[in-house]
Amino acid sequence: MDLTLTPDQASFQDEVRTWLRAHVPTERLASPGTPEGLEQHRSWERTMFEAGLAAVHWPREHGGRGLGPIETSIFYDEYLAAGAPDRLNRLALGLAGPTLIECGDEAQRERWLSNMLSCDEIWCQGFSEPGAGSDLASLRTRGVVDGDRLRVDGQKIWTSHSQFADWIFALVRTDPEAPKHRGITFVMIDRHSPGVDVRPIRQMNHSSSFAEVYFDDVEVPLENVVGELNDGWRVAMVALTNERSSNLNTAAHFERLLGEVIDLVPPERRRDPRIAAEIGRFHEEIEAYRYLTLRTLTELSKGRRPGIQSSMGKLWWSEMQTRIHELGLEMLGDDAELLDPADAPGGFVHRYWLGRAAHIYAGSNEIQRNIIAERWLGLPKGR
């Protein structure tokens, strides 16, 4: 056990920190939902790409830095600390790309990987469906083989980034007769194809960060299928296992959130033992998450595939985050009723609802508990 950086890690950290200090835009970029914001984000991503920092966790032969999980987390801690913009092509870098690297063929990697890094093509995900919910494998979007193409009909939901995405990696049912988890195919769909219709979902918090995507007889070349036809469930599981190598929801992220809440505590309550105990507890929970994660990263860095930690981690941070938000709302007092983030310091109301959604997305917390019960505790499936 050694929690100091190796010389290589230290010099990498140094390099990244220096580079970020020199290159991170000093002004906050506009939202990528706006045309100028999209251009600003693309430009920032291109800068990263040119510096070879677009996907540090990807293998070198595919344009990454070939870094291990610990080094990748060092990178993203620095990235967050430097106040750098949110990554634009997160779903390509974290899911679609690694999946292609692991399950795609040479032509597919050639076709897409480099454009992912440069952000010339932006990606979104088409897994969820309105009728499926937690039972992802019950999806009903159909793909019918017709010569050298797949004809896709159906509907996806909760697609983020789809308003400016160019490609969708999606699961479609290609064999309706097969058992639920078979007969599913993983396919890359051109968002600009005829028959693809993206409709933003207005959310209860008055914003629209997700969309529904409708497919009406969309033609997709069979060469866009990743892995074999009807073997898409396995490919999807590879994709989801890779999901963890994202810069979101790290301990550093929640530490910053807690710092914001501490700043909101009014002077007369800074000696309230209950407030102190709550803040101390959040600190403890964030540190627990940091070292839970570090255990996983250590195992990954030694070539082992930890089984259950991603379920534990997701449960942990999503429920902790809601409680931190709730303390933030309490500290905001009357301001917590205000809608506009410009008036409400920190936009806590907005983030509170997003945080609530985290109990549901990416595998609801009930599903995560089922997984832990069955895979970690060895309790039977069932009721």
Binding site: R271, I279, G280, R281, H283, A288, Y289, Y291, L297, W376
Partner: protein, 338 residues
């Protein structure tokens, strides 16, 4: 960066586990409990033979010169088996405080005896009216008095034994006659080290104890049938044990970190130890409540072993700081830092 134990550490833990599985089954613990205040710590001497007591004592004084990280898995095993001795006081706090702050003569006198398992150490939070586990039976007591730390022999102790809920604690209310002859140090870092090392060590005990509670409960769920199927098929019961198991993994992670930081003398050791102890106390409290609830009535009987672990858990949850106070301390520091 490497957040795993090395092979030696894992082997040390496994050796202690094998020993305790054989030598300290629940039946033995029951005998020890029945002996009550007169208990003489035979198990401890045998554990010392395995290197437990001297792990943090330097080689010159008969120990193996390790760091707290070397002992974290071992403490976990002691917790899993609910060892009745004051293990953290004797094998963690005393060696670290004496090595760090004691005069050479003091080290020479006590460290070899501690390493050999011949000396049991108690820790008292204040010189008067202190509630001290093993207060009347320890061979020597580390006593805090403000920022001073004293080392007090039994002749200078007035101890009134108390009937505690946990027979392994052998509680006494103690007064200590302190003077220059008992003084170890006036360095405030020594009292802080008592808190920090005590909290980190007790967290490790509690994590091991939690493992026992989770295992017992898991087995009960798998075997006990109700309404024609095992309890383990009822989703509400499954999820309750999941929440416990997740809390235990969180506490385990914090405990590894605290052990490491105490071991290397990291400036963050005090915060890390508080976080670990608070999380371990919380995990133990939830594990105990879930174990009791999921076992049903049988768990409340003296005949069933569950209470052996529950009583020990409740004591250790209180040792070296309860969760709420530790959290308030951490929060106050964070609020002041801003």
């Amino acid at each position: 960066m490497d957040f795993e134990f090395d092979e030696d550490q894992v082997a040390f833990g496994a050796a202690v586990r094998r020993f305790l599985d054989a030598k300290l089954p629940p039946s033995r613990l029951r005998t020890i409990w029945d002996e009550g205040q007169g208990y003489r710590h035979e198990v401890w001497r045998e554990l010392a033979g395995l290197g437990v007591a001297g792990s943090l004592v330097d080689e010159a004084h008969g120990g193996s010169g390790g760091r707290l990280t070397d002992l974290v898995l071992v403490l976990g095993e002691l917790g899993t088996h609910a060892v009745p001795e004051p293990a953290v006081e004797t094998a963690v706090v005393a060696p670290l405080v004496l090595s760090g702050f004691g005069a050479p003569a003091l080290q020479q006198e006590w460290l070899p005896q501690i390493a050999a398992g011949d000396t049991i150490v108690a820790v008292a939070a204040r010189p008067e009216g202190a509630r001290v586990p093993d207060g009347a039976t320890a061979d020597v007591t580390l006593v805090r008095s403000g920022h001073e730390v004293h080392l007090v022999r039994p002749q200078r102790v007035t101890a009134r034994p108390l009937a505690g809920a946990d027979p392994s604690r052998r509680l006494a209310e103690c007064d200590y006659r302190l003077d220059d002859s008992t003084l170890v140090t006036v360095d405030p870092a020594a009292s802080l080290l008592i808190d920090t090392a005590g909290a980190a060590g007790t967290a490790a005990l509690l994590v091991g104890l939690c493992d026992r509670l989770v295992d017992l409960t898991r087995e009960h769920l798998l075997t006990r049938q109700q309404f024609g199927r095992p309890l383990a098929e009822f989703q509400v019961l499954k999820h309750r044990l999941v929440d416990v198991a997740v809390a235990v993994e969180a506490a385990r992670s914090l405990t590894w970190n605290a052990g490491y930081r105490v071991g290397v003398g990291d400036p963050g050791a005090a915060m890390a130890a508080r976080a670990a102890k608070a999380a371990a106390s919380e995990a133990a409290s939830r594990a105990g409540a879930a174990a009791l609830q999921l076992h049903g009535g049988i768990g409340f009987t003296w005949e069933h072993d569950l209470h052996l672990w529950l009583q020990r858990a409740m004591s250790w949850e209180r040792s070296f700081g309860i969760a709420r106070e530790l959290r308030a301390q951490m929060g106050a520091e964070l609020l002041e830092a801003k």
